[in-house]
């Protein structure tokens, strides 16, 4: 290898490893800034405490309502995004003709390209009042509205990854199915879906990660009450919006500041576990199909 080659090799190696360095930096900061909160409160009281009054005297750092807020909104969003996302992927990949495909694919991608602040603003000004009038509830800024909008935002993620999964199902599978006399519907449900199954699960998990980490939209549309909601029509405050709303003014190095980092740590660990699971399933499925790992 010549000197120039070597130089290029190392330059690109540094670039490739920079992601790893960034990740390491983020993890380090989350731990060093998040863990000190446990000198003010115990892990149990932090995770399962029901009151979040970070600036009261004495402060209370219970993030259970906030965790619950994230979970409810995420669950609701996936109830919308999974059937619609996977359904769209199936239609676009398996049923739609070339012309429809040419139209639908960019549309779904465009839906994913809309900035989240636009979704949030639209949700706050248009969707929330609509939901409020429709269900005759005191406020439209609630878990339901948040789930609705995040669900729409997750559709492109689920759809495009599910479509990728469908596209790696070998053509021979389809041909074999048709050769056995199966019709298109049977082929879709009994052959293609199971073959792409783990890839589709990956799309769902990545959709969940996307929704959980979403900040701007939930800050604007979920109402932001840090309490355990009685129904899906109550305002909730997910983890992300708590951090976004409060970090700006929390005194650096104070207990509130560390508590917000600890919420970030919880959020990071949850999404990291999900991504690892998604990676694992994805890998397993490629092996199953006899593709390159």
């Amino acid at each position: 290898m010549g000197l120039t080659d070597k130089i290029y090799k190392y330059i690109f190696m540094i670039i490739a490893f920079s992601s790893f360095v960034f990740l390491l930096g983020i993890i380090t900061v989350l731990f060093t800034e998040g863990l000190p909160v446990f000198s003010f409160t115990s892990v149990i009281n932090f995770i399962f405490g029901k009151s979040w009054y970070p600036t009261a005297v004495p402060p209370e750092f219970g993030i259970f309502p906030v965790i619950l807020g994230s979970l409810i909104v995420t669950l609701g969003a996936m109830i919308l995004a999974v059937p619609v996302g996977i359904g769209s992927a199936l239609y676009i990949h398996e049923i739609a003709g070339e012309k429809q495909k040419m139209f639908l694919k960019p549309i779904v991608e465009l839906l994913g390209a809309v900035p989240s602040i636009i979704y949030g603003f639209f949700g706050m000004v248009v969707v929330a009042p609509f939901v409020q009038n429709l269900f005759k509830i005191p406020t439209g800024q609630c878990a339901f509205t948040g789930a609705l909008i995040l669900g729409v935002m997750a559709i492109p993620v689920v759809c495009s990854i599910a479509e990728d999964a469908l596209s790696v199902v070998p053509k021979s599978y389809r041909e074999a199915s048709y050769a056995l006399g199966a019709n298109r519907w049977q082929t879709l449900w009994k052959v293609i879906m199971p073959a792409a199954g783990s890839g589709i699960s990956t799309s769902v998990i990545l959709g969940i990660s996307r929704v959980m980490g979403e900040t701007m939209t939930v800050l604007l549309v979920t109402g932001g009450a840090a309490m355990i909601p009685g129904s899906i029509f109550d305002p909730v405050r997910p983890m992300t919006s708590t951090i976004a709303a409060e970090m700006g003014e929390a005194a650096v190095g104070g207990s509130h500041y560390h508590a917000l980092f600890a919420i970030g740590l919880v959020l990071f660990l949850v999404t990291m576990v999900m991504n690892i699971v998604a990676e694992y399933i994805g890998r397993k499925y490629r092996i199953k199909l006899g593709l390159d790992v």
Binding site: Q132, G224, P235, A245, E249
Partner: protein, 273 residues
């Protein structure tokens, strides 16, 4: 917006250092409520006064006072009078805190324009925001759930409202959180049962400000001290303001400085022409 501050002060610093001889320095620290005023005033002041560098920080009134005690700042902004214990500590360190009132803060309680309630007592407001009153019928309105809209726990308005209206009670846990005064107004305007609070400068036509103990939230009533949810905002110095600190505080008190106060949503000390 701590990061913004740091960036802003860094930018100001950089701008000045690259310019001429920036030999004179003034460090301002303290209340996040006063921060926007101090920041805007500092920028204007530096434009007018070559050769001076103002660094404006905001971590809270307590931090400003601590910083003044340690002589790490020249001016400490505070949204509350300094405590006796803080003066005692300052004196042991040879610092003698003296207050200058630079602006007034008034907080309006706002409801949806369709709400027939247009007057509340201090007791009712406290009850509504601490959670002991939850239906409009309890305060003389049409029956319906009260939807409380609050600011994030870190905002200066939240802190002021907590001190003035809640008197130390905790904000009810089901209060909705909005990250900006504008968002409070928007939410209340779209929620028939909504009630929120906002700085006097942010009252708009989309919401209705209620009277408190029969007194309307107007500048006049803040000036004559009849509106209950108002308070003075201070700048503390070591001894009476002198030198560069005096020049800057005089600028804040001038007509130009007071118009900045008004622009930032606070009440100037006197009527501006």
């Amino acid at each position: 917006m701590k990061l913004l501050n740091v960036l802003a002060s860094a930018a100001i610093l950089a701008g000045l250092c690259s310019g001429a001889n920036a030999d004179k320095k003034l460090v301002i620290d303290g209340s996040s409520t006063i921060l926007p005023v101090a920041q805007a005033a500092a920028e204007k002041y530096m434009d007018k006064t070559p050769g001076i560098t103002l660094t404006v920080k905001g971590g809270g009134s307590g931090i400003g006072v601590a910083s003044l005690q340690d002589s790490t700042c020249d001016i400490a902004n505070s949204s509350r009078p300094i405590k006796g214990s803080e003066i005692a500590i300052a004196l042991t360190k040879g610092v003698d805190p003296k207050a200058t009132v630079i602006a007034l803060d008034g907080i309006a309680v706002v409801v949806n324009p369709s709400n027939e309630v247009s007057a509340l007592t201090k007791k009712q407001v406290r009850g509504i925001f601490n959670g002991s009153i939850s239906d409009w019928a309890q305060v003389g309105g049409a029956a319906g759930k009260i939807v409380v809209v609050s600011r994030d726990t870190s905002s200066g308005t939240y802190e002021a409202f907590g001190a003035l209206a809640l008197m130390g009670d905790k904000m009810r846990p089901d209060a909705m959180l909005q990250a900006a005064s504008q968002a409070v107004a928007t939410t209340v305007s779209k929620t028939p049962g909504g009630i929120g609070y906002t700085g006097i400068g942010y009252i708009s036509d989309v919401v209705k400000a209620v009277t408190i103990e029969g007194v309307a939230c107007k500048k006049e009533n803040v000036w004559n001290n009849t509106y209950p949810y108002s308070r003075p905002l201070f700048m503390y110095t070591n001894g009476k303001p002198q030198g560069e600190a005096k020049k800057f505080i005089d600028f804040v008190l001038s007509a130009e400085g007071q118009s900045i106060v008004e622009e930032q949503g606070f009440v100037p000390l006197r009527k501006l022409k």
